[in-house]
């Protein structure tokens, strides 16, 4: 599953079969390398859908049991949300301090939310080299020099 492909997914309630919100963004925890929540729009409940509230993340829609899964961001998620933590289109630098490109996409597991790889100028970099995302850049562990 790619960020770019699922960014405008509908959020559908399986209880009422209605579209209750639309995906606007992703909240990533760089320490656990997981998507911890989705930022959603067009819902009266709030703007955050925590990952545990998701019933299914499919190729065409995100399903939730009930619209009540959406709410305002709680403390740990609010700390990770915000513009400085978005990854798409942010510059990537290595842990040696060199610019290596721009984040074009992020691949993640639709079942667990685990980040699988970060695509930099289209080239996938395995998630275990993803160190952090902040106001300046996405930091990627430099490949050890042979």
């Amino acid at each position: 599953m790619l960020f770019s492909k699922s960014r405008k997914h509908k959020v559908v309630s399986t209880g009422t079969a209605e579209t209750v919100a639309r995906v606007k963004g992703f909240v990533v925890d760089p320490v656990t390398r997981h998507v911890v929540a989705l930022v959603v729009g067009k819902s009266k409940q709030g703007d955050t859908l925590p990952w545990r509230g998701i019933s299914g993340f499919g190729p065409d829609a995100v399903t939730v049991a009930d619209e009540a899964a959406i709410g305002p961001a709680d403390e740990p998620i609010a700390a990770l949300a915000g513009k400085s933590n978005t990854m798409l289109k942010k510059q990537a630098i290595s842990s040696f301090g060199d610019h290596i490109g721009t984040v074009t996409d992020v691949a993640f597991n639709g079942d667990t939310g685990a980040i699988e790889s970060v695509l930099i100028d289209g080239e996938p970099v395995p998630a275990d080299r993803f160190l952090g995302v902040g106001s300046f850049a996405v930091v990627i562990e430099a490949e050890p020099t042979p």
Partner: protein, 192 residues
């Protein structure tokens, strides 16, 4: 790299946040290595920061950013002042010094320092200076690069280099690293 290229470079944590930017470089009193950096805030209207960044807290010096582990890398200025011979806040008293050979020829005025991260990561060496050359060198008035020995005497007024440094003057950074190595090897050969 030229030390002037390092100033204004952002200081970025592993978490990707830019916590400061380099204002000035603090050199060791003998001019042979970089002790650390003074800092300014990020953004157009942020002034200088009180905290400094000692070299020991720098994880990497790259072409686009200085990487630090986290914000705790920025410390109290006292950490640098004792070793720097009071150059903190003045941009180092190396720029503007006259380079004098040990035989008494004035080679020119220091306009920039060339730094290189050496020995794994132990220190950030000053390997050479960019000087505005005096009449003693060909092309007087132009900027040339001169390699430095490992250790030397510096007073803020003068820097003393061995006379043979003249033979290793280069016009640009390409090939300068090799000139530094050759020069230092030759000096070691002489002392052995």
């Amino acid at each position: 790299m030229r030390s002037s290229e390092v100033s204004q470079r952002p200081v970025v944590t592993i978490a990707g946040d830019d916590v400061a930017q380099v204002k000035d470089i603090v050199y060791a009193a003998d001019g042979g290595s970089v002790l650390g950096f003074t800092l300014a805030g990020r953004g157009l209207f942020s002034g200088p920061l009180r905290e400094v960044l000692p070299w020991s807290n720098v994880a990497a010096l790259g072409s686009d950013a200085l990487i630090v582990k986290d914000e705790d890398a920025l410390t109290d200025p006292a950490a640098l002042e004792s070793d720097s011979g009071g150059s903190v806040g003045k941009g180092g008293n190396i720029l503007g010094s006259r380079v004098l050979t040990d035989t008494g020829t004035d080679l020119g005025v220091v306009v920039d320092a060339i730094v290189e991260v050496a020995g794994g990561h132990e220190q950030c060496d000053v390997v050479g200076y960019e000087i505005e050359s005096s009449e003693a060198l060909e092309n007087a008035g132009t900027k040339v690069l001169i390699p430095l020995p490992d250790t030397m005497a510096a007073s803020g007024e003068h820097l003393i280099v061995p006379a043979s440094a003249r033979n290793f003057v280069r016009k640009d950074l390409a090939g300068f690293g090799a000139a530094v190595d050759e020069f230092r090897e030759q000096l070691q050969g002489r002392s052995n």
